[in-house]
Structure formats: C-alpha cells, structure tokens
C-alpha cells in the first residue's frame, strides 16, 4: 500500500516537474519555419538546412548572481523571525473569555470615571433595550455566565442614569455596543389614512377569526358580510360587542360600518369586529384612544385554543386513573 502510494506520488511529482518544461518547449517549434517544399527524406539534413537558413531566436542570459543582496534578504528574514514572539492578544487571556472580561473592565473603569456626575432616577432614565445574554454570547462567541452578564448590565443601567444634559459622548459610544439593534419606540405603526370616500380601514383578530371594517361618517348603518347586524349575529350580546367601540364612545349614530369577517365562531367574529371597528374609529378620531382602551377595544386578546398533548385527553386533562 505505502509503496504504491509513494510510487504514485513520485510519478505525480515527476509529472508536475515535467509540465513546465513542456510548456517551455512549445514555442520553439512554432517559431521554426518548416518549408513545405522540403524533399529530403532524412530529418537530420533538414534540421541542418534550417539552422543555416534561419536566424536563431534572440534571448538574453540570466543576470549575474548578486550574492550580497540575496544574502541580505535572507539575513533580514531570519533576523525578523529571530525577534518574533507569541503573546496573548488580550490581558484577560487566561480567563477563557477575554472579550467579555475586557468589556467588563472597560465599563467598570468608565463608571468609576463618571461616577460623580448627577443622575436621574432609574424610572425617568431613557428606556433602553439591552442585548440579552444570548445575543451578547453570539456577539462575542464566548461562554459568558448569566450572573456575570447581569453584573455588566447593572453597570450599564447605572451609566444610563447619568443626567441626559451631562451625558458624556464617551459613555454614549460605549453603551452603543450593548444596545439591541431596535430600541423601544423605534418602530412606530403607520398612521391610518382616510381615503377619498371618507373611509377608514381597520383590521382585527380574535381566536381564529379575522375581520376588516371600513368606517365612514354616516347615520349608524352596519353591514357585516352584506347582512345587517341583527341578521348576522342572532345573539344580542354579539351584536353589542361587534359595535362596542362605537357604543362605548356614544358614536353609534355618527358612523356607518361595513365589515368583512371570516373564520372562527360567532363570538370570535364579533370580538374581531370590535377590534377592527375600534382601529378604524381611531383613524377618524385619534383622541378617543384612552376612552377605547378603557372600554377594552384596543388590545388584541392573544388567547387561543391550547393544543392537545399526547397522553392527555384534551390539552391538560389526564385519563382517569384506574387501579388495575
């Protein structure tokens, strides 16, 4: 086996050694002029004729060896190698998490520097979403302990409490590294628009139902999926909850509602409409938001049917225990 590999390797080596030579030899025949009219049978004679007839290709000999220069180069390289040593990139090398330890030391030093600046209560400090431990771990790629990271976040919170009018630029820059990419208040929902026919659109969901409602200024007409409210919802409570946003703000006779609702049951559809109508109403009158919030029309109810689990009769119900 080994011998075979060796021989193969050698052959390959010889091949690779041979290759450049072949390349070099190629241009030679190209330049040689071969007269088609040559009638000589012997090749040696024809070659002789060539040499006589053609001028040889011009070339320049290799330059003389500059021993000093080459030596100097080698010596320089060797000298450089003789000065190199390998050291840790960070003084926290032996803590096995040099980046984190470096960060912690830097932040502690920064806090020590700005500790005497006036502060504001933590409740009044600007809201900042710090990176979670997992995000930080991904950033530094080190096994950081949760408790240690909390200590660092504690320092960051304290830095954030410095009075905004005296916040040093240095601190702002240092804190950037630990902030999440998106901060609370960054994402603002697009304000709704009233189209050219005076309609405002709102979308609401509840359980598995989803509803779209267009609210127009009018005299209190309600059409759901092309039917009147009383036709669509047989139950009185559902009728009330569908237009609860208007009823709670006493605007039932001031707007017309045209809604589309799909999926789910009757209650889900009615309460999906509540949310849709409330959102559309908010486009017309944004000042109603506190009132609608108090009426419970602004927040989406996130409850859904819990999935059934294996080994359970329903989501949580266990089979009856039988002794034997």
């Amino acid at each position: 086996m080994a011998r075979g590999e060796l021989s193969r390797g050698l052959r390959r080596a010889i091949d690779s050694l041979g290759l450049p030579r072949c390349e070099r030899s190629i241009p030679v025949p190209r330049t040689i002029f071969r007269p088609t009219t040559a009638r000589c049978l012997s090749t040696s004679i024809s070659k002789h004729a060539e040499l006589v007839s053609e001028t040889p290709e011009k070339f320049t000999a290799a330059p003389p060896i500059d021993f000093d220069k080459q030596d100097g180069k080698e010596r320089g390289k060797k000298a450089l190698l003789r000065t190199l040593r390998v050291i840790p990139a960070s003084p926290s090398y032996f803590s096995a998490k040099p980046t984190f330890t470096g960060d912690f030391i830097n932040l502690s030093a920064l806090l020590r520097k700005v500790a005497t600046l006036p502060t504001i209560p933590a409740a009044e400090a600007p809201k900042v979403a710090w990176k979670t431990i997992d995000q930080y771990r991904i950033m530094v790629n080190e096994p950081v302990k949760t408790q240690r990271y909390h200590k660092m976040v504690h320092i960051l919170r304290r830095l954030n409490c410095i009075h905004p009018s005296l916040m040093p630029e240095e601190v702002t820059q240092a804190m950037l590294r630990y902030k999440k990419a998106s901060q609370p208040g960054d994402v603002k929902p697009k304000p709704g628009v009233i189209d050219e026919w005076g309609r405002a659109k709102g979308v609401g969901r509840r359980k598995t139902s989803s509803a779209v409602a267009w609210v127009v200024e009018g005299e209190g007409g309600v059409l759901i999926n092309g039917k009147s409210l009383s036709n669509f919802f047989p139950r009185l409570h559902d009728r009330e909850s569908a237009v609860w946003a208007l009823k709670a703000t006493q605007r039932l006779d001031k707007y017309n509602v045209w809604g589309l609702v799909t999926g789910g049951g009757v209650t889900g559809q009615a309460e999906a409409l509540t949310l849709a109508v409330a959102k559309a109403l908010l486009v017309h009158e944004p000042a109603l938001k506190p009132a609608l919030r108090r009426a419970g029309c602004v927040t989406r109810d996130p409850r859904k049917v819990e999935r059934k689990k294996a080994g359970h009769v329903k989501a949580r119900k266990m089979p009856t225990w039988v002794k034997r």
């Binding site: 390959r12 190698l81 003789r82 840790p88 032996f94 502690s108 240690r148 005296l166």
Partner: protein, 385 residues
Amino acid sequence: MIIRHLVFRQGRRALAGKSFQHLRRFLSTEIDSIEASAENNIKQLQSLEAQINATIAKPVPSIDSVTHATAPSAQATDSVAEQYHLFKQQQQLIGKLGSDISPHYQPHTLLNNPPSPADVTLELLLASEAHQGHATSLWNPANARYIHGIRQGIHIISLDVTAAHLRRAAKVVQEVSKRGGVVLFVGTRAGQERAMVRAAELAKGCHLFERWIPGSITNGQQILGRCRTKVVNEKDEEVTGFEEQLYDRAVLRPELVVCMNPLENYVLLHECALNNIPTIGVIDTDADPTWVTYPIPANDDSLRCIQVIAGVLGRAGEAGQKQRLEAAEKGVITYRPARGLRLPNDPEDQSPSPEENLKDTDGWAEKLDAAANHEGDGKRIKVVA
C-alpha cells in the same frame, strides 16, 4: 414655611399655656379678657413675622466677588448642567482652601500610583497590615520561620522577612518580564480585581480575577483554544500575516504566576507545579509555603496589603519591560524567539514543491520537538535577595 410653623407652634403653646386660665376664667365668665389676650397674641406673632421677613429680604453679602462665583449669578439656575458646572468651578476655586492636611492614607493612591520595589519599607508594610497572621490554632507549622511572635492570640509575621521576600519576588518578576515572559496575576477574592488589572497593565502581563478554570494549562487546547493570540516583534508592535500558523499553534502558558490567595487556588498552583511553571504566592500563616516557588509571607486577607504587593510586583514588571524595550532599541534581543514560525510571504512556503509534501511528516516532528523543548524550557531564575 418657617413662619407658618412658627405660628402653629406659638399658637398651640399659647393655647396650652392659657388652657388653665381659660377654664378658670370661663367659670368666672371673663370672656372678653380672654379675647383680648388672644388678640394680643396674634399681634405679637405678626410683629415677629414682620421682623423675620425683614431679615430674610436682606441680600447676603458675598465674601469676595472674584472667588465667589455665585454672587453675580444669584438668580436661580434651574438647569442641572449649569448647576453642575458652577459647582465644578467653585470646587476648583475654593476646594483647596482651608487647613493643611498632613500626609494621610488615600486608598486610591495604591492603585493609581503603586509603590515600586525601592519604596518597600517596613513602615509601609506595617501600615498596610502585612504583619497580621491568623489565629494561632490555624497556623501551618511550615511558616514558623516567617513568624515573629504571638499577640492577642494571632500570629505576627516578621516584616523584615516579608520585605526581603517581596523584593526577591519583585526581582523575579522583573527578570521574567525582561526576558519577554508572560506574567499572570491571579487574585480571585472579592475586591482584588482592580489591583490585579493594574498590576497586569503595568507589567504587560495577564490578569485573572475570576475562577481559574481547572485545566487551563493541562488541558489548555480545549479551554483557551478560542482565545486570540498575536505575534509581536521586539518593539511590541503586532506583526500580521501569521494568523493561520497561530491557529494551529499550541495555546500559551504563563511563564510566571503570581497568586494572591493560594488557599483558594490549589488547582492552579498544582497545574503550575506539574508544568514546571514558577509561582509567587502571598503566604499567610495558615497557607502551605511549599505550594509556591517564591513565597511572600504576608497577610492575604487585607486588601490594602494585596494592593501594595500587587503594585510592587507590577512596578517590577514594568521595569523589566522597560529594560527589554531599551535593549531592543539597541538591537539586543533579551528573549528566546518563538519557535516554528514561518514567514507568511515566503515564496518557498507559499508553493510547496512535491518534495516538501513528502517531507510533511518531518515538519510535524519538528513541531513536536518544539513543544517538548518548550516544556523543558521552564527556566528557573536564581535570584538572591
């Protein structure tokens, strides 16, 4: 506010004082006189009020318009920033005024400006409580030669021995730093962080103030394999292009370990002993001096003492680094260069010929050789205190 309080208090007192009379007079039906007295009381209060108002309205005269910056801008400065700047200005102007304070202990000076080995005196050690040992029942008899005596049930460490050992340790640190070695400062007790970081900063070494991860030396490739290393030249400038070679290289080990609390770092010291890495340790009367190569008998429970020792050793390392850099300026290399490094842009190395491919195993042998040599390197520096 003050006036209202005054009225309240006075009124109540007046009522309380008169209550006796009040009842008596009520019985004797002298109501009008009571009314009159009440009126008088109110009049008195009003005059008092007027007096107080007059005194308050007067502006407080400034002491000196130059030094007293508040006088011209007496109007309320509601902005916090303005007030803060004003306070800073004031502090700068009048902060140094007053009585002259004789030299006293300022905790931060030990960290900001640590003492050098030449500054080690018995007074300094005594002031930093380096002499306090543990209760006599806790002692390790191996420390008998460092103990001066017993006072109030605790052992007293003899400070002349401490000073001598500290100076010797400082020389060791200096020589290792001069020879380009990595000095690791370990202090894992609460409050020792800053001293360790500062000492490592001075000596251009490493610090450790959290738990020593067992196996960082004996199983280093697993634990420190991800930590970055760099190649530097004699002037400590980073030389790039060796990243690939560093990736394959064995992890680094400290050339000298300075341990401030040997009792808690048994594993570290054991690993160092296994790998022939010399150690310096602060040995209290309850610690075993044989755990470390160069003991410094001192109180390891006093942060101040630890700060002094770390500072002295850090300064020694600083001196060693300075010597090394000075020698490098003159073209003298005081350390052993890293083995097995190849120049990254060498054409011979870039395109290995087939012959070299065959010889690859030899390269490995060389590397292993280098590793073995490195292990055998563990040079012991003999320094006489």
